[in-house]
Structures are given as structure tokens and as C-alpha cells.
Symmetry: C2
Subunit: 136 residues, 2 copies
Amino acid sequence: MDQLRETLKGHQLRTTTCREDVLSTFINKKNALSHGDLEGALGENYDRVTIYRTLKTFLEKGIIHKVLDDEGLRYALCSHNCSEEKHHHDHIHFKCSACGETNCLENLHIPAVQLPEGYHPENFNLLIQGVCPKCN
Amino acid sequence: MDQLRETLKGHQLRTTTCREDVLSTFINKKNALSHGDLEGALGENYDRVTIYRTLKTFLEKGIIHKVLDDEGLRYALCSHNCSEEKHHHDHIHFKCSACGETNCLENLHIPAVQLPEGYHPENFNLLIQGVCPKCN
DNA sequence: AGCTCACTTGCAACAGGGTTGCAGAATATT
DNA sequence: AATATTCTGCAACCCTGTTGCAAGTGAGCT
């Protein structure tokens, strides 16, 4: 419990029950979550709008990051210490077409890509879709 | 003009003015387009719903493919001969944070990734964000 | 050209995602 | 405990995307 407060404080955020609950939901379920998932889990306690704003705040402060998907955005915890100034992510996301879960493969890094002259990359996002070990 | 009809016919689709216009829009603007882009370009001539259904049909028939994005889905022409049965894409998409355009880098392929035991990948999607040569 | 059938379109209506403004409530600080 | 600041809930709104149904259109046939 105190760990949640610490995390929020460390990102210059007031500790509120909504933020604690959203953060602990991300920690408990390990996969990437959509706004709808959170609304399903916490919607009886908090307003839709509050959950949206919490996600937006967490994004800006570097607590979570966006996970691309072909059917709607999701969010996942930043494993390393991202901050308001800088997100650094080059890990891979895997979406299982059977169970629908999307997970970060933290240990794998996106291989380097040789871009043509003139391109200045800042951010990489690799989504792999297929079947995960659980559903295999 | 006839080329459009050929393309549609080749995918077992009736030639209608809406489909011709959507297809030629994709051919003229070379970058990835969202539904909103198409609605902006053709919305006075066709209903929103018709454009949605045209996109869905084109997707199924393998004329266009989805392009992931952190702020809404886009679509781009399939360069190779994709069919209803099989899409094959492993090229890279580059989104410019300055001009907002997303383009396919047809010549570049997504490097191989060694996944842990048990993962069966089927589909790869790499989005690189940064600054493109035009905006450099 | 005209007929027919199957496919396509437009309209209305809906569900969901996401945002904004504002008043009231909760938090951190003194 | 009082204050300034920030957060929350509510209402309202816009955009995205889908479905059902009736009317319209395309393609093949005679």
C-alpha cells in the first residue's frame, strides 16, 4: 500500500484512492489494460472521466506507456524509471490472438533498423501478434 | 481510370463510384489515411457509413492494410498482391511527429526477433516515430 | 434495351471512446 | 484548523465505428 503512495509521490502526484486503485490494478494484472478494462474493474467506484484523466496523468508523468493495438489503445506500466521529460521504451509487445491479452516482453529489445538518409527516429513500437505460451 | 476497375475486378468487387474514389484517393495521396481523412476528402459525395464499409471491404479483400498508430487507426495500400486469404506485410511504418504523415517504408523489412519458447508469432507491426526527411 | 438478382448505398439509430467546463470535494501545506 | 491547490463527479458534447432496413445500382442474361 505504501509502495503505491511512494510511486505517486515520486512523480509529484497527490495520493488519491482512484490513483491508488488504478495503479494497483496495473500492478496486479500484469498485462496491458484498456480504459474499458479499468472501467470494468473500477467503474463502480469512479467516474469514467476520472479514469480517463488518471490515465492521461499517468502517461504524462511516465508511470504508464501506450501500447499500440489494431483494435484500440492500451496502457502498461513503465518498467524503468520514465519521467515527464523522457520515456524510453524499446521493448516488444505481444498480443495473443487466442486469449486477447497483450504483454510486454521486457527482456527483448527491438533490433536496430537502418533507416534511409534523412529519417530521425525517436520512438519504436513493435507489436507482434500470434499465440502465447499459455494458449499454445 | 480503367486501372481502378481492373483492381476492383481482380478482387471480385463491383465497380462503384465510391470504391473508385476511395481507391484513387489512396493512390494519389501516398501516405496512410484514416477514415477521417477520407471523409474529409469524399464526405460530401458519400455517406460516412459507406466509407467505413468500403474500408472494411478493402481490408478483407487485401487491397489495403491497417497501420497502427497511437492516436487512431490508419490504412494504406497493400503493395504486393494480398488476397482475401493472406496478407503478407513485414515492412515498417514511419510516422513524422512534425507533419503527422505516416508512410510505409516498403523497402525495409522488420528484423527477425528471437522470441522465448512457446510464442508463435503470426504478424509483425513496427511503427517508428520521429522526423521525416521532408520536415528535417 | 430491358429484366432480374444480388450486391451496395443512404438513412436512422445506436454503442463506445474520449474530451471539456464547471462546481463541489479532497489533499497537502502552514 | 484554514488555506490554496489540485482532483473528482456530473453534464454535455464530439468523434469513431457498427447494425438494420428500405431504396438504389451494377452485372449478367435474354
